[in-house]
């Protein structure tokens, strides 16, 4: 037995221990305590539109199937035959009438019920003893979350302020619906998974890691280059480990976030105005979508959706897909190209984030213990709801991530 891991010692108010990124025992512990014991994002309902449509995802060491059943209900089922443990689905997506195991031909319904055992003469257990393992599942605006074990907090409590962030993303559609039909790029990182959510709501690195982008491309990110007091965006810790960079205060015109203008996307502006009314639509089109992480593995990445997948203490995979807006197909082409520009192994941004994260992973492996996490403690503010806000370059977001992480790892809700 390894010594008990003291997360209070490893995660302090203003610093964290480097072993959190590299230690195999800590990795195994977080798979158990975070990915197998509480809510994680699985996928979006728009990925499985028809009955029998399914996708597979990897959570912790397990493959799971998210499927739309014959009654339209969405379930998340462990992708493992209850007989001898074979994978039922090897494909990442498809449509099935039932799940038939390729090993001995056992047949399971889309709801996970064991329907048929071949050569039943030698098998006299009741079939329902060997139904597939079904996860506790809930959803909000099509975002499906699940938990292997009965979670200790309700889905509503888990999402908390995350609901408003998901609302802000979905409401970019004039129909209030997003559609994840563009396919997923998967990017391999030789770095610990926690660097992904940390980096994605780190407003401090943009001028440095992305210096080549800032120099080569005229974009809304260019507005953030300058003296410290010229940066108007803010960083937020929404609680429950949900964090955000709110770029909106730094935008200088409507549709800055889309790199567009109302004249160029006239029909989109019109349909938004029709749905939400002029005043509200104008505000939404100015503020844009959220740039926010929902703990532990979902990133509302402006006009993209991103999933973080831990695959080991030193490796991770980042999934990304464009967030298409139902009712605004005229934006699809632009959103595809923007997604490729920002995210993925050949992109202008994430390619460099990966190299920098991997360099951190190497340096942390040396065992030099501490990483500083104090930036902004001297100036962040907290509202009556406990939401903390600070300058865009402050580590308010990362403290929010780590202190929630600590509460889950200790087993005490923060």
């Amino acid at each position: 037995m390894p010594a008990k891991i003291d997360y209070h010692e490893l995660i302090q108010a203003d610093k964290i221990h480097g072993s959190l990124y590299t230690d195999d025992a800590i990795y195994e512990d977080e798979i158990e305590k975070i990915f197998y014991s509480s809510w994680v994002f699985i996928g979006h309902e728009s990925e499985i539109k028809k009955r029998g449509d399914y996708i597979t995802r990897d959570i912790g060491r397990s493959s799971v199937i998210m499927v739309r059943g014959k009654d339209e209900a969405i379930q998340v089922i462990v992708n493992r035959c209850q007989h001898r443990g074979n994978l039922l689905c090897n494909e990442s997506q498809g449509n099935k009438r039932n799940f038939t195991c390729p090993y001995h031909g056992w047949v399971f319904g889309l709801n996970g019920d064991l329907l048929d055992v071949s050569y039943p003469g030698g098998f006299d257990k009741p079939l329902n003893e060997l139904n597939l393992e079904v996860l506790v599942t809930d959803s909000y605006r099509g975002f499906v979350f699940a938990s292997f074990k009965k979670p200790t907090v309700s889905f509503d409590d888990y999402l908390g302020h995350g609901k408003a962030l998901i609302d802000r993303a979905c409401n970019m559609s004039p129909n209030g619906k997003i559609d994840l039909k563009g396919g997923w790029i998967r990017q391999h990182f030789d770095a610990n998974w926690k660097m992904l959510p940390e980096n994605d709501t780190d407003g401090y690195h943009v001028n440095y890691v992305h210096q080549s982008f800032v120099r080569a491309i005229d974009s809304q990110y260019g507005d953030f280059v300058g003296a410290e007091d010229s940066i108007k965006g803010v960083i937020k810790n929404w609680g429950n480990g949900h964090t955000e960079i709110d770029f909106a205060p730094g935008y200088t015109k409507t549709l800055d976030w889309l790199g567009s203008t109302p004249e160029k996307v006239k029909s989109y502006v019109e349909s938004m105005t029709e749905t939400y009314g002029k005043e509200k639509a104008d505000q939404m089109l100015y503020d844009g979508p959220p740039h926010a992480c929902i703990f532990p593995n979902l990133f509302l990445a402006e006009m993209n959706i991103v999933i973080f997948q831990p695959t080991g203490s030193n490796t991770a995979v980042q999934w990304s897909t464009p967030m298409f807006l139902d009712g605004a197909p005229e934006l699809d082409f632009k959103l595809l190209r923007q997604s490729e520009g920002a995210l993925g192994p050949a992109s202008f941004l994430l390619a460099d984030d990966a190299s920098i994260a991997e360099r951190a992973q190497i340096a942390l492996g040396a065992g030099t213990p501490w990483c500083d996490l104090s930036r902004g403690l001297n100036r962040e503010t907290e509202d009556s709801d406990g939401v903390k806000t600070s300058h865009m370059t402050d580590e308010t977001s990362n403290r929010g991530f780590w202190h929630h992480y600590r509460s889950l790892m200790i087993g005490v809700r923060s």
């Binding site: 998967r186 990017q187 080549s212 120099r215 080569a216 192994p345």
Partner: protein, 164 residues
């Protein structure tokens, strides 16, 4: 309809592609960029048959974005290619066609060993099929499209900031 090309033309087209590969391997970015036509499409889909107007690709560059890509690589701050990976690609199994519009289509398999030295110093293998559309330009050729079909494009792939 497409037709195969003469042996002399095939040799010339192969020579052009070998030169393009060398410029990409060696990070001779401006010379590589100069090979492209104004209607350039440099495309790495996730899989063969994907529709770039509906599905996300690893990259789908028009001429303007291709210029941006080169400009970024040349800033001296593109950390994912700083320093440039060690690369020496092999291209083989060529097929040459003349298309109805007079352009040439060249398809070939590629095998690209990459020594990635920006972070973890990892030796990687990239492989797949190149599909080029080329046309004559003076005594030389120019590239209209280069589609790169990775054998593992739908799987998790590491940083691909170099010119593939």
């Amino acid at each position: 309809m497409s037709a195969t090309v003469s042996a002399a033309l095939a040799k010339a087209l192969e020579g052009f592609i070998i030169r393009e590969a060398k410029l990409a391997d060696e990070g001779q970015y401006e010379a590589w960029e100069a090979l492209w036509a104004d209607d350039a499409v440099y495309w790495v889909p996730l899989r063969d048959g994907d529709d770039p107007t509906q599905q996300v690709s690893h990259l789908y560059d028009n001429r303007r974005r291709l210029a941006t890509r080169i400009r970024q690589l040349m800033t001296g701050y593109r950390y994912s290619q700083l320093p440039i990976s060690g690369m020496r690609r092999l291209i083989s199994n060529y097929e040459f066609f003349t298309e109805a519009d007079g352009r040439y289509r060249v398809e070939a398999n590629f095998f690209l060993p990459e020594y990635s030295i920006q972070s973890i110093h990892d030796f990687r293998i990239w492989s797949g099929r190149y599909v080029y559309t080329l046309s004559a330009k003076g005594d030389d050729f120019q590239i209209h499209t280069k589609k790169v079909l990775l054998v593992n494009g739908t799987e998790p792939v590491p940083t691909m900031a170099f010119l593939i």
